[in-house]
């Protein structure tokens, strides 16, 4: 039982990074980032390249993953999303564009990194005991880094000038523009930050369960489940969704064989959406 709680907590913290990233992008840009899982995957594979191929320390790997994926996000936002948001006549268009970028990123990654499952050796060795549960030091480190980053993002969004501009942008684009905020710059920054969070999450999880180039869609699906549970575009909801999914997964894997867990999660999700279509904290069609 304690083992399930420990696993659930670690998963939740990592998923929270994914959910926070996709929520930032959705809130600010009103774009559902289908490529989020692919950004996660690229982050993981960059950490693999830096740490295993170039034999540099893990911290360097994680930092370069964050910077590289963040830059990819900013580049995509500047070159593609801004243009399509300006010219598109249907609201589906940005979503379809995101699907296109997901396909593109996945295949570039396949070409650059190959299709093998990649993992890195644990950064720290040793195992702690917590009651009857085993807690490898490596996972504890991942957990701690995740929590620290979540706290940092929350502080940034709530208390800095740029963070305030992002929240304003999420509420009302035109009004924000009228207040003299450089909307294009803040949009790019938000997209980059969301992407960087996905990259970091990938870089953290590769030391726990490994990453391969085809993992993107599965991760995006998990991200979607989380924001459907919590409510799209609400930061509190994203964290809540991450905790719900993390524990559901940990409990499911302990009780049921293999793929039954996700079948149950999907069934529960659909039933949940019957009762509350906008998620726990989402605004109805806001």
């Amino acid at each position: 039982m304690e083992q399930i709680l420990v696993n659930g907590a670690i998963l939740s913290a990592n998923y929270a990074l994914i959910a926070l990233g996709i929520t930032l992008i959705f809130g600010i840009m009103n774009v559902l980032n289908f490529a989020h899982g692919q950004m996660f995957m690229i982050g993981g594979l960059i950490v693999y390249t830096v740490c295993v191929v170039f034999k540099l320390p893990y911290a360097v790997g994680l930092l370069s993953a964050a910077v590289a994926v963040g830059l990819i996000g900013m580049l995509l936002e500047r070159t593609l999303f801004q243009r399509v948001m300006r010219i598109s006549s249907r609201e589906e268009n940005t979503m379809l564009l995101a699907v296109g970028t997901a396909l593109l990123l996945e295949n570039i990654a396949l070409y650059v990194f190959g299709e093998k499952q990649r993992g890195i050796p644990p950064m720290v060795s040793g195992v702690y005991r917590l009651g009857s549960a085993f807690l490898p030091a490596n996972r504890l480190l991942v957990f701690a880094i995740s929590l620290a980053l979540i706290a940092a993002v929350l502080l940034f969004v709530n208390f800095t000038r740029q963070g305030r501009a992002m929240r304003a942008l999420a509420q009302d684009r035109t009004a924000t523009m009228l207040m003299g905020v450089d909307v294009n710059r803040i949009s790019m920054l938000g997209f980059g930050l969301g992407a960087a969070l996905a990259g970091i999450a990938g870089g953290l999880l590769i030391s726990v369960s490994g990453v391969n180039a085809g993992i993107g869609t599965a991760i995006s699906t998990k991200a979607f489940i989380m924001i459907m549970i919590g409510g799209a575009g609400v930061i509190g909801g994203a964290l809540l969704g991450a905790v719900a999914l993390g524990f559901a997964e940990a409990i499911g894997y302990a009780l049921f064989p293999g793929s039954v867990t996700y079948l149950l999660i999907f069934t529960a999700l659909i039933l949940f959406l019957l009762i509350r279509p906008q998620g726990i904290m989402g605004k109805p069609w806001g």
Binding site: E91, L97, S259, F266, L273, Q278
Partner: protein
């Protein structure tokens, strides 16, 4: 199926609606029944490619109907899988003929579509997109965990349709299926229901306020779409003689959507043009198959940037360009 077009032909002389139907369908019919078989006679490989494209077009026509009510539907793979398994199980376990399985698969998919669609269609925009994507994954897991005929949830040795033996037969069957589907969707889009769909896409509350039972219409659209997905899946299962839970994944659902979008969402012909265009293009590009999926992504982005209303919007854009140039 030939009888229905003949009937349309004979009435066509008196009723303008039927004549319009004939004009809409005749070029496609000539292309599918005469031009393609003539060019590709004696090339079974290319006939197979065309068969695939025709059945995939049939599935994407369904997705087009859900686009028409303003929903992004990423669940067509789920219903193709459902239809495929319905045919697989009915024909291997119960020995039913394919010609019975095909409509039954459509009916089963439509029923499930109605049951699932009724609650889920309350969702809109990205919520609906996300939940339909989850549905595709859920359907795969469902068959993976429930079908135990073969390791990994597959069904093998599905009999081929009775009376269909050569690649040309397969092709003609697929072409007929596509023509019937096209006629049905074309008729639907031009009917009162089609106009109701368009009003719902623009503003559901407004449509509701003038007394349209929005909930019923959108479930009808979704069930219609699901039935087409189910029949496409059934045809594939019988043509390929096997089906696995991984036969249709999220990628396939996304592709169905992509075909519609590429052709143009404002045209009934859009999904057909999109599907045939992409499938033929990638057969021709087989030598660089390594980069196929990469090109898919790049192509999608390019179309998004420069032709946001699909390939079929090109003539009107060129026309405007030409007029303004003078």
């Amino acid at each position: 199926m030939a009888t229905s077009t003949e009937a349309a032909g004979t009435i066509g002389a008196t009723s303008p609606g039927s004549r319009k139907a004939l004009i809409a369908i005749l070029p496609l019919a000539i292309l599918l029944y005469a031009v393609v078989p003539f060019i590709l006679r004696g090339q079974p490989y290319w006939l197979n490619v065309m068969t695939n494209a025709a059945i995939l077009s049939f599935g994407s026509l369904g997705v087009w109907v859900t686009f028409a009510i303003g929903r992004v539907n990423i669940a067509q793979g789920a219903f193709a899988l459902l239809g495929g398994y319905t045919t697989a199980i009915l024909s291997t376990v119960f020995g039913l003929s394919f010609w019975l399985c095909l409509p039954l698969s459509g009916v089963v998919a439509a029923l499930v579509g109605t049951l699932i669609g009724w609650p889920l269609l309350r969702l809109r925009g990205i919520y609906f997109a996300m939940v339909t994507l989850s549905l595709t994954e859920a359907m795969r897991l469902l068959f993976l965990n429930t079908v135990t005929l073969h390791d990994g949830g597959g069904v093998l040795n599905i009999p081929r349709p009775a009376g269909i033996d050569t690649p040309l037969d397969f092709y003609l069957f697929a072409a007929t299926l596509l023509l019937v589907g096209y006629l049905a969707v074309w008729r639907l889009a031009g009917s009162r229901i089609g106009w109701v769909f368009r009003s719902m896409r623009q503003n559901e509350e407004l449509a509701m306020s003038i007394g349209i039972n929005v909930a019923r219409y959108r479930v009808f659209a979704f069930a219609f779409c699901s039935a087409m997905g189910g029949m496409a899946g059934a045809s594939f299962a019988s043509l390929q003689q096997n089906i696995y839970p991984a036969t249709y994944t999220v990628t396939d659902s996304i592709n169905f959507m992509l075909y519609c979008f590429l052709g143009g969402l404002d045209f009934v012909l859009g999904p057909i043009v999109g599907t045939f265009g992409l499938i033929i293009a990638f057969e021709l590009l087989r030598s660089i198959q390594e980069y196929q999926a990469l090109l898919y992504g790049a192509l999608m982005i390019l179309v998004m940037l420069f032709l946001p209303n699909g390939v079929l919007s090109l003539p009107s854009i060129l026309g405007r360009f030409w007029r303004s140039g003078r």
